[in-house]
């Protein structure tokens, strides 16, 4: 198999508006039906369909690449009852190693809207296992996707692509963990019940924060939010006295003036024997006097501070994406080498040549030791030795060709090359 004829056709969030993407999306049930329809098409050998809210892509191994690309485009349009000419500008298609590179980028989350997000890898895995369970994949796509998962893991581990929080609440959690390390058994106080504050609190709770106090000007609001967060509600005026019990304070009230002042915090810190407090002020206008940050063991971040942390982190992820691309290029080359190694023909030729040269040598040696033979006899001997070699190599050649079409083909080839010493 000299060329596996890999192709990829798709649309994504970068080139195609959502109105079109949503018309092209496949539901899981539709994917099942489509995979089966495609794989029974004579042009298609293997295929996998990936459909998420940001992309619709079909990866396939086909008999002929240009025919394959046209077929897949047509299929997507036909399936959704759209005239195929209308969407030509939106589709991208890749072949061979470009398709491989694209898949590696997608699974490593370099092609995502939020660089480094973790969801896409799960979606690619789901798409693969669905296709695999329906037997619409074969040796090449199996190896390609398994490799893509590996690459994604490597990118995640060896680059900082997913290291830094790129949402307000994840950046806040990250900061909390740089101040307190372990959030287990920490306590958080919400002053005000804004939506963002709730989100941040939930995020903190998922990291093990145990105690939650909720204060709101309307006690019922505090009570209902406390219920969902499994915390306890406090009267609004209580927050001043209870502040020293909280490691993290999140404010989100609608108050036009600062409600937490420096002297208040100074007092709380004193009561806590200088144990740090992390203030997160999500309110606009702000709830906490900025001078609070001047106190020792007190850290105050308002919404703008968090926003600038987030944008710095986004930039950092973009830098890491470049490192990730280098890694991906290397893996693409490795995958190509694997594809090349699948080809049985050169190996068979090499073995044959080796055998032929041995046969010739030995035949000459033997002839020189014998009584002068007639040309007829010489010819008979030559034919005889040739047919010995042909008979010996007949079955192995057929089996090798057959096996290289299977999942473990490259293992067979490797073994054969090793046994015959072809690589030294």
């Amino acid at each position: 198999m000299a060329d596996p004829n890999l192709v990829l056709v798709g649309v994504n969030h970068k080139m195609t508006p959502v109105e079109i993407r949503e018309r092209l999306a496949f539901s899981p049930g539709e994917i099942e039906a489509s995979l089966e329809r495609l794989v029974s098409h004579p042009e298609v050998i293997e295929n996998i369909i990936l459909s998420t809210c940001n992309r619709v892509e079909i990866y396939a191994r086909v008999r002929d690449t240009s025919k394959g690309v046209a077929l897949l485009k047509e299929f997507i349009c036909d399936y959704h009852n759209i005239a195929s000419g209308d969407l030509d500008n939106y589709f991208y298609s890749f072949q061979g190693e470009h398709a491989v590179e694209h898949l590696f980028r997608v699974s490593s989350s370099l092609d995502s809207m939020v660089l480094g997000e973790a969801q896409i890898l799960g979606q690619v895995k789901d798409a693969y296992s669905l296709a695999r369970s329906l037997r619409s994949t074969g040796m090449v796509l199996n190896q390609l996707f398994e490799k893509a998962f590996n690459v994604a893991k490597k990118v995640r581990e060896e680059t900082g692509i997913a290291e830094r929080g790129v949402s307000i609440s994840s950046a806040a959690v990250e900061l909390a963990r740089k101040i307190f390390e372990d959030l287990e058994n920490r306590s958080v106080m919400l002053v005000g019940t804004g939506e963002m504050a709730e989100l941040a609190a939930k995020n903190l709770i998922s990291y093990g924060v145990k105690t939650v106090y909720v204060c709101s000007r309307t006690y019922e609001r505090a009570e209902s939010l406390a219920k969902t967060l499994n915390g306890c509600a406090l009267d609004f005026d209580m927050f001043k006295e209870e502040m020293h019990k909280a490691d993290i304070v999140i404010t989100s009230t609608a108050s036009p003036k600062f409600i937490i002042k420096k002297d208040m915090v100074e007092h709380a810190i004193h009561q806590r024997k200088n144990k740090p407090i992390f203030f997160i002020d999500i309110a606009v206008p702000r709830d906490i006097e900025p001078e609070v940050n001047d106190l020792e063991n007190v850290y105050l971040y308002d919404i703008d501070d968090l926003q600038s942390v987030v944008s710095a982190n986004v930039k950092e992820r973009e830098k890491e994406a470049e490192t990730a691309m280098e890694l991906i290029q290397k893996e693409v080359t490795k995958f190509n080498n694997w594809v090349v190694s699948l080809d049985a023909v050169p190996t068979i030729v090499e073995i044959r040549n080796r055998a032929e040269s041995i046969r010739k040598n030995e035949l000459e040696k033997a002839l020189s030791k014998m009584e002068p033979l007639s040309d007829e006899d010489k010819k008979t001997l030559s034919i005889m030795t040739q047919s010995v070699i042909n008979k010996i190599f007949h079955k192995p050649t057929i089996n090798l060709k057959k096996q290289t079409q299977s999942q473990e083909g490259h293992v067979y080839l490797k073994a054969i090359r090793h046994l015959f010493h072809l690589d030294d």
């Binding site: 740089k178 390390e181 063991n297 942390v309």
Partner: protein
């Protein structure tokens, strides 16, 4: 042989210092593994050196300033190893190993003559020196941790989150390190400090006839770490103050050392 193992440890510490620094910046796990292995090799060579030297001199490595320097640097690395293992703070290596390297390098510049010792070392002198050196090693680790704390604290406070913010441990962990190391180091140092006069008493030397220029910095060192030690227990000294204290204390330790040389 002595020279050979000496050089191995010297260069291992240099290599490990560079390795840990590279790890701090580039975060390649394999680099930190290599660095830790290098420290291990250096420590082994260092231990062999101490053994050989003790065999040669017939007593432990705490008679000349050269030996004490080598014993001190050995303890720094031992304490570092224990801390890395206990707290998993690999980045500490980038701050501690250069200090160990400098201590060995500086010792190498000192006279390597074997001191003439009349009899076996008196027990109190041995105890005095060993405990003091362990205390100093602990203070060195506290110093390295304190620098890390101040870097990290400054980043979180000023909201300029550079690469070190992501690489270095949390303030909590670094403060805990300061706490643990001084909690262990200070009492040992105090015992060492007190056994000095005891040794003099057993030798029938006047106990209070201190050499003032040599002793006053020691008293200040003791006071500084005492303030951190008791302050943490009773009046909530922690975090930045404890880190600043550990830095000032270490500067005094170095000063004391040079006054003694």
């Amino acid at each position: 042989m002595e020279k050979f193992v000496f050089n191995i440890s010297l260069f291992s510490y240099l290599g490990a210092s560079l390795g840990y620094f590279v790890y701090l910046v580039y975060r390649k796990p394999v680099v930190s593994t290599v660095a830790t292995a290098t420290v291990g090799a250096g420590l082994l060579a260092h231990t062999v050196w101490l053994g050989l030297r003790s065999m040669e001199t017939g007593h432990g490595p705490y008679t000349t300033t050269f030996e004490i320097g080598m014993f001190f640097s050995w303890l720094i690395v031992v304490v570092y190893f224990l801390t890395e293992w206990k707290y998993k703070i690999k980045d500490l290596g980038a701050f501690v190993l250069p200090l160990a390297f400098l201590a060995v390098l500086f010792s190498a510049l000192l006279s390597k003559d074997v001191a003439f010792v009349r009899e076996s070392q008196p027990f109190w002198l041995t105890l005095h020196r060993t405990l003091s050196v362990i205390g100093y090693a602990a203070f060195t680790i506290a110093f390295a941790g304190a620098i890390m704390y101040l870097i990290q604290e400054n980043q979180v406070k000023s909201k300029k989150l550079g690469i070190m913010y992501f690489r270095m441990p949390s303030l909590e962990v670094l403060d805990k390190l300061n706490d643990k190391v001084i909690t262990i180091g200070f009492p040992l140092f105090t015992l060492g400090f007190m056994t000095g006069p005891l040794w003099k008493a057993t030798m029938d030397m006047p106990v209070l006839a201190w050499d003032i220029t040599k002793t006053w910095p020691l008293v200040i060192v003791w006071l500084i770490y005492g303030v951190i030690f008791f302050g943490r227990m009773f009046s909530g000294i922690r975090g930045k103050k404890a880190a600043q204290g550990a830095i000032v204390g270490f500067v005094m330790v170095v000063l004391t050392y040079f006054l003694h040389v």
